[in-house]
Each structure stands twice: as structure tokens, then as C-alpha cells.
């Protein structure tokens, strides 16, 4: 019988334990802005990281190729690129590809990073949805090639990440050259990382990204549940299961974020007893059905996809999350100080309660801040 504990993890590690800094900044009108503020804010939380991981997700990044899937792939060997290029050629129409520009910075052992703008090859697609096809191929590259990792695969967005402090990563990837309407940033404090670039945050699948602070004590079952739906956890971190959970619930099952957040951080059973019966019934059914996706243990996350930025903590808020708004900007951060640094005159600043999502949606200045049910 095969060793079930190692079924999908060639590195023989279950998860990376980390305690980190998060920062998210979104223009709710969709106006693009530079890396200046996000980089300044995340650098202000330097002490929350240890230089073993930093990263950025930028939405509205590639307007010129906005309808093409943008792959960012890191290669640990020349051989891997050759193999992967062949695989890409067979499965995609490559519109354009180039090396991601970099400059000298204080980063550790950078891999070769290449970007491709692609469309799924028509003859291969058959009845599959394009997104499902893309996800399958990303999983294939990440699990089968060994030395090539697709770490960004959405349209008109991109992830830049690696081993270093976030400000060093920003410098290395020349982020001052880019603009986007939403930036999600991460500084990392791993305690047992092998220091590999793919392990840094944000995590991405299609246009979904997750940055995460915390450790999921429910990881083992979260992962086994997601494996039932074809997800393969390869990235050596429990953040990955958060990304896949959002993908499963919101993209594949079409659940709204109000429900998805209730799945990941549900109310306590006895809290439901005080609600109107039909609400209690719905919430009970959610917990009964999706109990294996309850994210237990400390976490705060910022989840983003096109048009939406979501902040969420575990239901007893064992990790920090602060929120603020100013004009058409929404800010989410591990520390309020980082928000104040780039936007001293906030219209509103608050600390969301445990399990209560903060949701910013493109085209609406009305931020969803609490779920009022019952």
C-alpha cells in the first residue's frame, strides 16, 4: 500500500509554520497606482518578517495582454525550462514570452523567472472550461516537472515573490515599473523553511491569490478534503489550502464570499441558537456540509481576485487584522500603523471581529465590513 502521508508532497513536509505581515491596498474605482505605497507599508512591518520570504500580487498589471493567461514560472534548472517550454508548446498558444526583468538586490539565490502570455490550445480544450484546463496544466507542471513552478497564472495580474525581505523583492523585480488597481503584499517569518522561492507568499491559482499569517491546526483535514476535489498540495505550506478552498468554494461552486467566509470561520453552534430559525438552519447546514474546510488555529488572510479583496481572520481572532478606508481606497493590514503611514487621514479605521470578513468590491465604495445576520 502506498504511503498515504506522502501522496502529494515530494518534499516530505506537511507545512511551513509562519508568522507574518500582510498588507492589501485596493482602489475601489479601479484606478491603477504604483508600488510606492504598498512597498512602503509592508516595509514598515519589517520586524514581522525574517527575510526568508516576501511577495506581491498586482491586479490590473498587464492591460496590454488582459485577455491572456499570464504565467510566471520559476526554473531551478535550464533543463526544467526546456522541458516546460515543450509542455507549454504542446498545450497552449503562446502569445508572448520573456524573462521577468530583475536588478541586483539583497535576495538569496534567485531562480530564473520567466513570463508567458498564453491561451489554451483550441484543439486540446474539448468540452473543458478554460479555467479548469488551465488549473489542470498548472498542477501538472508543478507536480511532474520537479524543477519548474508556475507561481502565477491569472489574467491581467501577476505575482512577484522570493526569498528576501519584501522591500528587497520589490527592488529585485523592479516593481517601481508596474502599476495596478490592487496590491496584496506579504512579509514572511518562516520557522522551518528550506528557503525556497516557491514557498513565499502570495499563493496563486488562476486569478486567486492568498497571503496568510498563521498556522492551520486543521491543515491535515483541510488538505484531505481538498484532495477529494482533485487539488494537489505541493507548495510546502498550509497557505496553499486556503487558496484552494477559495477556488473550490467561490470559483467552482459559485458561493458568495459571505458564505465562503462562514465556511472557513463559522459561528459557534450556540451562537446559531440565538438566530432566527431559517438563518440557524442555513448556517448549521453550511457547517455540517463543509466542516472539513473549517480553518482552525490562528490565521489572518487577505484573499484577492479580480474585482474583490477580502480580509478574514479565524473565528477567535488569534492573528491581527486592521482595516481602513480613505476616499476610494480600501486598506487591510496586520498593523494599523502601516496603513496610517501611507494614509494618515483615514475616513474610517477599525479592527474586524474574528471570523468577520471585510470585502472591497470594484465599483462600490461601500465596503462590506460585518455580517449582520439574525
Amino acid at each position: 500500500m502506498k504511503n498515504l502521508s506522502r501522496i502529494s508532497n515530494p518534499h516530505n513536509e506537511d507545512k511551513v509554520i509562519d508568522a507574518c505581515s500582510l498588507f492589501g491596498m485596493m482602489n475601489l474605482e479601479g484606478k491603477r497606482f504604483s508600488s510606492r505605497d504598498p512597498v512602503k507599508a509592508i516595509s514598515n512591518m519589517h520586524e514581522r518578517g525574517n527575510g526568508l520570504g516576501g511577495g506581491f500580487a498586482v491586479y490590473g498589471l498587464y492591460p496590454k495582454y488582459k485577455d491572456d493567461y499570464a504565467f510566471h514560472i520559476m526554473y531551478l534548472s535550464k533543463e526544467a525550462k526546456k522541458k516546460t517550454d515543450k509542455l507549454l508548446d504542446e498545450n497552449f498558444d503562446i502569445i508572448h514570452d520573456e524573462e521577468v526583468p530583475t536588478k541586483k538586490a539583497n535576495v538569496w539565490n534567485p531562480p530564473l523567472v520567466w513570463r508567458y502570455f498564453v491561451q489554451p490550445a483550441k484543439h486540446k480544450l474539448k468540452d473543458q472550461k478554460a479555467d479548469d484546463y488551465m488549473m489542470e496544466k498548472v498542477m501538472k507542471i508543478n507536480t511532474e516537472t520537479g524543477k519548474a513552478f508556475v507561481f502565477s497564472s491569472g489574467k491581467n495580474m501577476g505575482v512577484f515573490k522570493g526569498v528576501g525581505f519584501p522591500e528587497d523583492i520589490a527592488e529585485y523585480f523592479c516593481l517601481e515599473e508596474y502599476e495596478g488597481y490592487m496590491w496584496v503584499c506579504h512579509g514572511r517569518f518562516p520557522t522551518n523553511t528550506p528557503g525556497w522561492w516557491g514557498g513565499a507568499h502570495p499563493f496563486n491559482i488562476l486569478d486567486w491569490t492568498v497571503v496568510h499569517n498563521g498556522e492551520l491546526s486543521s491543515y491535515g483535514i483541510n488538505r484531505r478534503y481538498l484532495e477529494m476535489y482533485g487539488y494537489k498540495c505541493t507548495m510546502q505550506t498550509d497557505t496553499e489550502v486556503l487558496a484552494y478552498a477559495f477556488d473550490l468554494l467561490m470559483r467552482r461552486q459559485g458561493l458568495p464570499v459571505e458564505v465562503a467566509s462562514r465556511i472557513l470561520a463559522p459561528p459557534f453552534w450556540n451562537e446559531m441558537e440565538n438566530l432566527r430559525p431559517e438563518h440557524a438552519y442555513a448556517l448549521r447546514a453550511i457547517r455540517q456540509t463543509y466542516g472539513s474546510l473549517l480553518m482552525n488555529g490562528p490565521f489572518s488572510v487577505i484573499v484577492a481576485h479580480h474585482g474583490e479583496m477580502i480580509g478574514l481572520t479565524d473565528r477567535i481572532k488569534l492573528r491581527p487584522l486592521a482595516a481602513g478606508t480613505r476616499g476610494d481606497f480600501l486598506y487591510l493590514s496586520s498593523e494599523e500603523a502601516a496603513i496610517r503611514l501611507v494614509s494618515p487621514m483615514l475616513d474610517r479605521a477599525w479592527n474586524p471581529g474574528g471570523g468577520e470578513p471585510v470585502v472591497g468590491r470594484l465599483g462600490s465604495r461601500k465596503v462590506i465590513a460585518t455580517l449582520t445576520m439574525g
Binding site: D14, Y225, Q253, V259, G297, P298
Partner: protein
């Protein structure tokens, strides 16, 4: 024929302490003790003693000690005392050797080779005395996904949910049939389950109508003898369990001797008073998986799809494939009973040699159902020799939704696991239906002892979960990363899906 058997135990009585009160004489149902008027002394017939400890506990002056008979055959690792005695017994009787309770052989108890995790530094442990800690468990089929819509501020559910059993602790009382045990024991279990918010299982002997008021906390069993199965019985239960097999005696039926079938039991079982109640080895309308499906749906039809249907099997070599078939046949709950599961009466040779440990069966069933993407379609209840809350936590981490406890519940009521249940004269008043003995179980006291046990174990479960940084039991269920193995081979670790400690 002269018997060559020697007594297993020796009763020692300190005559200086004995006050000739005759409590031991009255308490022992095997007539081990007797009072000699002429000597004004109490003596013992050692050969009758089962070491049940009833006399020891009730002797007001603590005058009695029971010792294992030191007079043994020559040491032999192959021809043990037990093996030699068994052969002699069969040579004298020509019968099948009966026994009670679960397998007592030192087969590996995997629970003892599995250790639990706890949080340090990077993840705070949680104190269940000061913070919420949820162990409520719902049993029943869960949908693949929910259809929901947001209307205003409301979440509106579009999917219909199958019936669910709500347990306030992931522990149920396993099947103990009326006839094997008395009404008092049934009542004690029913009341404790009701008070604590869990369920008890009727076993295969039906349910006395006097206990119908506990129906919301009752799983009614349908077994091969179909004793006591009628529409009211099915309606009154919160769930129905089809019993295919039992861990103590996989593949064989049961036999309640006529002398135990009193008037009440006869009425409940719907058989004539004083007749033997024979449970066939298989259910004679289930010779295949498609037959099982018919019975599951017959029972669902009969109860308007208002309650989950469980199917209980003994853990055997290909449990995983069988369980998969059971789920596809419509079972909402799968009850797995391991080789250490107990019984009121079984041939010793079967009890000690047939079946597999619950740990391995549970691990492979859970994994198989996940690989097939149908784990959500049925809950798993594991049973068979659970001794402590740690065993329960380990089972849930391996993949069980809840566990059945039988022996532990009986021990809480007084049982000392002397393994003589099949004699029907249990001095503790449990495995007996003789009124003068069964009245020794007072449901007020026995249900209190059971509730105390559930409370104690539940508190311990919460402590262990809190230590792992988990505050909802669904995050422990199937979370094998919180288990590590010690002293296990790679093959064993592979089947358990658990890593070696230190890895």
C-alpha cells in the same frame, strides 16, 4: 466423568475479619460462598469463582481477596494454561467453548502506538475551561455542495439536507440487546444518553415500550432475527441500524437461551415466552450488496426518509471495499466494529481469531471513501474496545465521526470484565434478566455513573483538542497529521496514514 479441570481462582477469607454477615453468600450468583451453621463460618467453592469482585467490593470488613490459582501446569509458551484447560474442557463436554466480552489476547492495540500532537510557540493552545471548545457532532449523509443565495442580508439555503443526528459528544452507547441485558440497564443507557445529548442503541432485541419516551436518543437496531421490529419501533427511534455483523463474532449469529426469555422479553422480541431466540448468521434477505440496498430503502420508505439509516459491520479483511459498497447502497452511517468489540456470548475461538483491529479498518475505510470522493455521503462510527478518551481522540483523528462504547459503559455501571456474561447470572446485575439479580442495577445510580463517564471523557477530549490548537471537532476529524506512530513498521504507518514520531 471426573473433571480434570482446576479452579482458576482461589478465594481467600481472613477469618479474623469475617463477621459472618453473609453478604458474600447473598451477592455471589455462582454460589461460590456458603455459610456453615455448625462451624459458624463462611467457606468458598473456589471452582465457582469468576473473579467478578462483587463479594470483594461488598464485604463490609474487606475480609476477602481473590487470587489467581498459583497451582498451574508446567510452564510452556505454546501449551499455555489457557490452551490446556480449553482442551480438557472440550474433552469433557464435547462442546464449543463460550465466552463473553471482547477479545482478551495481546494483539496489538494500535492506539497504544499512536501519540497526539500539541501546540508550542507558533500556534496557541486553547484552554477549554475559558474559551469555547466544540465537540458537537452531526451524523448523517452530507451533500457534495450547497446551493445558496444571498437575499438582502439573508443566506437562503436551496439544498435540502438529509436527516442528521445531533450528538453533544462524539460518543454513543453501542448495541446491547434487551434479553442479553435487563430493562434496568437499557433504561440506564437511555436516560444517560438523553441527559447528555447522545444516543444509545437498542441492540437486536427490540425496545420495551416503557422506554419509548427516550426515542429521540435511541438508535433502533434491525438484525438477522428481526426481533421486536415493527412500525412503532422504527418510528420511535432517531435512527435505524441494520446489523450485519459484530466485532466479537463476525460471520456468526446469536443464541439467547429460552430460560432468559421472560414474559417481558418475549413480548418485546415478539416470540413465545421461554423459547430460544436464534439470530441467523446472515440476514436471510441480504445475500448481496443490492439486497442491502433494498433493505436500506425499505426502512427509509417505512419511515418517510425522516431518519438516517446506519449499517453495522464487523471489521474484516476487505472492510474498505465493503464500506464503499454500503455507502453506494444508501447507508447514511457506517458502523465499524473491530476485533476487540465485545459480546454477551460468543464462541471463544471466533471472538479471539476472527476480524481485524478497528484502527486499521477505520483508517482504510476512511481513506478509501476519500479516494472515491464519497466520504461525505456517510458518517463513520468506530467501535470495539475503546478504553479512554485518548482512544476516542485518536479514532477521530484517524477518520471516525464518532465512536461506540459498550464495554466502557458497562464498566461504568459495575462490570469488571470477568467474561462470564453468557452464563446470564452476572453478579453485577448487568448481563442477566433474572429479576432478583437485575434489580442490582438502579437506573438512578447507573445513569448517573454513565453521565459522569461521558462528562469526564468529554472534558478530556476538549483538553486534548485545546492542546492541539483546535476548537471544533470537525478540524480534528480525519486530521492524521496530529497523530504520530511509535514502534510501527512502514507498512503499518502506510495503512494508518500516519507518520513516524520525529518525522
Amino acid at each position: 466423568m471426573k473433571s480434570y479441570l482446576s479452579s482458576e481462582y482461589i478465594v481467600e477469607r481472613n477469618q479474623d475479619q469475617c463477621i459472618r454477615c453473609k453478604v458474600c453468600v447473598n451477592q455471589c450468583t455462582y454460589e461460590t460462598h456458603y455459610y456453615d451453621v455448625e462451624d459458624d463460618a463462611v467457606y468458598s467453592r473456589d471452582e465457582n469463582c469468576t473473579n467478578c469482585q462483587r463479594c470483594v467490593v461488598f464485604c463490609p470488613t474487606h475480609a476477602i481477596t481473590i487470587r489467581k490459582n498459583p497451582n498451574a501446569y508446567r510452564e510452556n509458551d505454546n501449551w499455555t494454561q489457557e490452551a490446556i484447560q480449553a482442551v480438557k474442557k472440550q474433552a469433557e463436554t464435547g462442546g464449543v467453548i463460550l465466552t463473553g466480552m471482547g477479545c482478551d489476547k495481546p494483539y496489538f492495540t494500535y492506539w497504544d502506538r499512536l501519540l497526539l500532537n500539541a501546540s508550542q510557540v507558533t500556534n496557541p493552545s486553547i484552554d477549554p475551561l475559558r474559551e469555547p471548545m466544540e465537540i458537537r457532532t452531526y451524523l448523517g449523509a452530507k451533500p457534495d455542495k450547497l446551493e445558496m443565495e444571498i437575499e438582502g442580508e439573508d443566506i437562503v439555503l436551496k439544498t435540502e439536507i438529509d436527516p442528521q443526528l445531533c450528538l453533544e459528544t462524539p460518543i454513543l452507547f453501542s448495541a446491547l440487546s434487551y434479553g442479553a441485558i435487563s430493562l434496568n440497564v437499557h433504561e440506564s443507557l437511555a436516560r444517560a444518553a438523553t441527559e447528555f445529548g447522545t444516543l444509545f442503541n437498542t441492540g437486536e432485541g427490540g425496545l420495551d415500550p416503557r422506554l419509548y419516551k427516550y426515542g429521540d436518543h435511541t438508535i433502533v437496531q434491525v438484525a438477522s432475527g428481526r426481533f421486536g421490529v415493527h412500525p412503532d419501533y422504527l418510528d420511535i427511534g432517531a435512527a435505524i441500524e441494520i446489523k450485519i455483523g459484530q466485532g466479537a463474532k463476525p460471520g456468526i449469529g446469536g443464541h439467547l437461551p429460552g430460560e432468559k426469555v421472560s414474559e417481558d422479553i418475549a413480548r418485546t422480541r415478539m416470540i413465545p415466552t421461554g423459547t430460544d431466540a436464534l439470530s441467523p448468521a446472515p440476514q436471510h434477505d441480504i445475500y448481496s450488496i443490492e439486497d442491502l440496498r433494498q433493505l436500506i430503502y425499505a426502512l427509509k420508505e417505512a419511515t418517510d426518509y425522516t431518519k438516517p439509516v446506519s449499517v453495522k459491520i464487523a471489521a474484516v479483511h476487505n472492510s474498505a471495499a465493503i464500506a464503499s459498497g454500503m455507502v453506494r447502497a444508501g447507508a447514511d452511517i457506517i458502523a465499524l466494529d473491530g476485533v476487540r468489540g465485545a459480546t454477551g456470548a460468543a464462541p471463544k475461538i471466533i471472538r479471539d481469531n476472527v476480524g481485524i483491529p478497528i484502527e486499521l479498518a477505520l483508517a482504510s475505510v476512511d481513506q478509501r471513501l476519500r479516494e472515491e470522493g464519497i466520504r461525505n455521503k456517510a458518517s463513520i462510527i468506530a467501535g470495539g474496545g475503546f478504553r479512554s478518551s485518548a482512544d476516542v481522540v485518536k479514532a477521530i483523528a484517524l477518520g471516525a465521526d464518532a465512536v461506540y462504547i459498550g464495554t466502557a459503559a458497562l464498566i461504568a455501571m459495575g462490570c469488571t470484565v470477568c467474561q462470564k456474561c453468557y452464563l446470564g447470572k452476572c453478579p453485577w446485575g448487568i448481563a442477566t434478566t433474572e429479576p432478583w439479580i437485575s434489580k442490582r442495577i438502579n437506573p438512578d445510580i447507573a445513569s448517573k455513573r454513565l453521565v459522569n463517564l461521558l462528562r469526564g471523557w468529554s472534558m478530556e477530549i476538549k483538553e486534548m483538542m485545546g492542546g492541539m490548537g483546535i476548537n471544533a471537532i470537525e478540524s480534528l476529524r480525519g486530521n492524521r497529521l496530529h497523530l504520530r506512530g511509535v514502534g510501527l513498521t512502514d507498512t503499518e504507518l502506510g495503512i494508518l496514514g500516519v507518520r513516524m514520531a520525529g518525522d
